[in-house]
Structure formats: C-alpha cells, structure tokens
Point group: C2
C-alpha cells in the first residue's frame, strides 16, 4: 500500500497542487465542483495525511454550548491533561447546535488542529471521513446520538444513573416519583428516563405518564415543571430532576409552594457539580465524573494523534449515587 502524493491527486483531477492542498486544509476559496472532484479522488485513493505532521498543534475543543459549570468541568479535565503535555487548547461552541455545518468544519480544518474533541455534539459521517483523510483524530464526549463504531467516544452510563437515582427513591419508600429529564432528542435524556422506567418495572411499580416531563437541563425548566408537578392534588413525593441545575429549579418550586425538603418532597439531581454540595439543603445527586471523562478523552486524542492505538472505541464511566440532604422517606 503506497500512499498517493498530493501531486498525484492533483494530476489525476487536473488541478494544481495548491488547489489540492487548499481542499485538504479547508480553505474556502475553491469552487464547490472542483472541491467535490478533489475530495472524490482523495477518497478513492484512501489518502491519509501522515500522522507525523500532526504530532504538533493544538486541540480543538468544541462545545455545543458554553453553558453552566458543566462545560467548565469538561474544560478543566481537558486542560489537566493537555497542559502538562504542552498542547494548547482552542475552545469554541456551536451556538447550541448539536451538528456543526460545513463552514464550521472548514474553519476547524484551517486551524490545523492536532485533533478535535466534541462535547455533546458530533459530526456527520461525511465530515468524519473528511477529518480522517486529513489524519485529524476526533473524540466525542457524552455524545447525544447513537455512536458510530468508528468515532471514539467517552461517556457515562446514563441508563445506570437513571436507575440508581430512581431505585434510591423507591428504596426510601416513594411510590409517586416524577422525572424531569433533558430534551426529548438528546440520547442521554432518553437513557436516564429508560433507567427510571426500568427501576419502576423491576419493583413492579407503574409509571404515571403525567409525572414524566422533558426539560432542557436549566434551572428555569426545573422551576416550571416543578411548579406544575407539585401544584396538583396527587402530587409526587419525589422528583428525579435530570440535572443539578433542574434540581435547583425544583427546589425553588417546592419552596414557593411551602413544601419542605426532604420532609414533604425528595429531590435528586444529576451531574454532581461542585456547587451541589453547597445548596441548602445539600443536593443528593448522581455523580458523573466529568473531569475524568474529559481527561480520558484528551489522552485518547493525544494517543491517536501520535499514531498510538487506543484500547477501546467507547469508554463509559460508571455513575454513582451521592446521598446528601434532599432525599428521605416520604411523610
């Protein structure tokens, strides 16, 4: 297997070496049709940029959104591995989108990163091939959609987290347990909800569909859903709030309605953010080792960039229950 040179590709397509190089580096000033033909030829010849050229450079860390302390925990984890390695970290976000568009991928390529870490977002298959051809490895942290086998991913076991949280409430004696999970179209929300359902099933309890809500992981969503759930005659005695921020919103809703936590209502969060230990009362939650996850993703990426094979395509960190003061037996 010999690797085709850029000159070979240029000759085959009938363009200059500069044009091929521009396409490889994601410059915008190549006509769409020409670019298509160059990409075609690169694909056909399985062009792979030599990894040696990629051993230097920065890590491009792409968030779907820069919100809350969640993103900061990821950044700290990446930084803790990249810093001592001497690899700079470039941070950007997709304005809340979970899929980058072509222009954004092109901009990423222009920066010639050593590798890319995407957080709560992922690329389309064609974009992934575009990166692979340039020898730019990609690692995803906590992706929101079914994992393609070829993209290394670091996540946490969300189904297990939902199960742990709900089982804790059932064991305390709760029978009417509400859930406010994340957005409907985000995989981790669905996995946590599935864990909640399985905990009910395995204890022969029915789930009341009126108690299942979809939020967006913000405190505001916790407050809104909390007020609706708790302001009814057959109100739940416990809420699995799907995220620590949503849990803070539910706690505020309880306070507004004069409910005391955990006497009148148990609340459990998800994430175990640094502030979870400091809310009043301190939040019972599910620990996602965000920093460790981000650190593992970074080590994986640095290995891939240096041509070292990684042991697994997907690493799932184990979630654990952290019992503090917001959960107790029902009144």
């Amino acid at each position: 297997m010999t690797q085709p040179t850029i000159a070979f590709i240029a000759e085959e397509v009938g363009v200059s070496v500069t044009t091929v190089s521009k396409v490889l580096n994601g410059h915008a000033d190549v006509a769409a049709a020409t670019r298509e033909r160059v990409e075609d030829s690169l694909r056909r010849h399985q062009y792979q940029r030599r990894t040696a050229r990629r051993a230097a450079g920065h890590i491009d860390l792409v968030f779907h959104e820069l919100d809350s302390v969640w993103a900061m925990e990821i950044l700290r984890g990446v930084s803790a591995v990249a810093g001592p390695d001497g690899t700079p970290v470039m941070v950007s976000h997709l304005d809340g989108q979970h899929r980058p568009d072509r222009a954004r991928i092109d901009r990423l390529l222009t920066r010639r990163p050593l590798g890319i870490i995407m957080v709560l977002c992922a690329v389309a298959d064609a974009q992934h091939r575009q990166l692979a051809r340039r020898g730019i490895p990609l690692v995803i942290v906590d992706n929101d959609s079914a994992t393609s086998a070829r993209v290394p991913t670091v996540g946490a076991n969300n189904w297990n987290g939902g199960l742990l949280a709900t089982r804790h409430l059932i064991e305390l004696g709760h029978r009417r347990i509400a859930v406010v999970t994340g957005p409907r179209d985000v995989l981790c929300s669905q996995a946590r909800l599935a864990g909640y359902r399985f905990a009910h099933e395995s204890s022969d309890l029915l789930v009341d569909p009126a108690l299942v809500r979809y939020g967006d992981f913000t405190a505001e969503a916790g407050l809104t859903h909390g007020l609706r759930l708790l302001d009814r005659a057959d109100r739940p005695t416990a809420v699995f709030a799907g995220s620590d921020m949503q849990a803070m919103g539910v706690l505020r809703a309880a306070e507004r309605l004069g409910l005391s936590v955990p006497r009148d209502l148990s609340v459990i969060g998800y994430d175990d953010l640094p502030m979870a230990a400091w809310t009043g009362p301190a939040l019972t939650t599910v620990n996602q080792p965000l920093r460790e996850m981000a650190g593992a993703a970074t080590r994986m990426l640095l290995d891939l960039a240096r041509g070292i094979p990684v042991p697994a395509d997907r690493i799932d960190f184990v979630t654990g229950l952290v019992v503090r003061e917001t959960t107790g037996p029902p009144a």
Copy 2:
C-alpha cells in the same frame, strides 16, 4: 522614524536572521546570553513588528485558574465577541499563579497569538515590553494589582461594590456586620474591604477588627469563616461574603448552627453568578457584569491588534446591588 529590519538587528548583534527571528517568536533553543543581546538590540532600536502581520491569528485567553462558573462567564463573554469575528480562542491557566514565568510567556509567543487577554493575572514590565516589541497587544481583565498605565485593563469598581453591599446592610439596620473578603494580596479583595470600611465610616460606625476575615473566594472558606464568626456570643447579624461561592459557604454555616436566613442572619454575596438566583433562599449579591467585561476586553484587544486606537486605558464597569432573599432587617 524608520523601522529596523530583522537583518539589521542580526548584523548589529552578529547573529543570523534565523536567531533573531527565533528570539522574536519565543523559541527556546537560543542561548540565554545571545537572546539577551538580541533583546537588547531590539529594545534599543524600538523594534515593533508590523501590526498587519498580526491581524490574523487567535486570542490567547490566560486565566490564573480555571475555577468555578466565574471563569466560564468570562469565557462566554470573550467567545461572544471573538466567535462572530471569526477569531479562535485558546484557553490556558497558570495553575493558580498570578504571574506567568518566562517559560510560559515564551510558549505563548511560540503560538503567535493575535493578542493576549489575561484574567486575574498580569505580566511583569519586562514581559510587557517583550510582547510590545512583537506587536502583540495585551488586555487585562480584573487585574489583581495596581494597574500600570500602559496596559489596557477592564475591571469592575470593587470599592463601589463593597460600599453598596455594606450600605445596604446598614440601611436595613445592621450594626454588627462581618466581612469575609478574598485573599489579602489580591487588589479587588482590598478594594471591596475598603468599600466596607468606608460605608461604616460614613455612617459613623466602628468596624470590629474581629469581624474582618480573609478567605480565598471558595465555598469552603465561607463555611470555615462562617462557623467561626457565627459561633460566638456577640455574633454579627450580617455577613458581606465577598463572593457568591463564599456566600454559599456562609449560608451552610448558618444552617449548621440553626440560624435562619434572613431572620437571624443576613448574607450578601458578590459576582451575581447565574446560580445566585437559584440558591435557597435566593442570594442578595453585587452584580459584576463579567460577560460584558470580557466582551469589552475582547473588542479592545481586536482593535489594538488591528492598529485601531482604544478610547481608554482602563474601563471600569459599574457594579450594582441585586436584592433577593438573603438580606433583611436584624431580628
């Protein structure tokens, strides 16, 4: 005034053009003595890299530490201006140091940034000249030491914030008011403390030295100092907590000692982080417009990098009081 060429500098010092270029770009492989001589010559001839060459590139955003949601607010503010401008942002931190060492500045230079934003840290005068010679502008956000006139700085009026917070408590009727400010050697801590003192003076109240504490802006510090301050017979009826995280710690201390907020104790934070509205009870605090401050610093930097003069060397954002639920009249 003609600008000396690199070749001119090289000839004067008696080294190659490559060596001068290496010194300019911060490469480590130049002998210390040689480097010194090159730097000398650059300084003598007031060598300034042409700004045109610096119009492209990334922003290097340097934190003293990546802690808490405070840093995330700054990153969001920088990103909100740099993103639409198409300028990438590289993020690093100084492991809690407020002064970068030479090796770190050299690494920064190797990356050839368009400009540098330093948050809660600053460079020595010699390092600033090193940057200026390379035409790399520097802007500081909320610097921790007296501002040198030549370094553009964006801050918030900390003295005013300390005054507002303390005056609010005095107006509510409090007479024994404790303060837990930040570290002793950080200017903003001292400015907030000075505002606290001035509020007392202007109301003809004496400050009890036993009620003045220095923390480190963490919730842990708030808890430790809170327990000590509140577990005494002549305990204060109000605490100005210096930061929202410290306020969360003080709230936990009050809870542990069975004190109800705001009935038995008023607590006021500083920063107005997103979560401040969601603590139970919701935190009264001083608003620092962190995102706007970071945005202004970024605009300043981009202007400087493009040779556009900036209107002021120091911009101070006005701090404002946000009254929520943790403050009230003393019992």
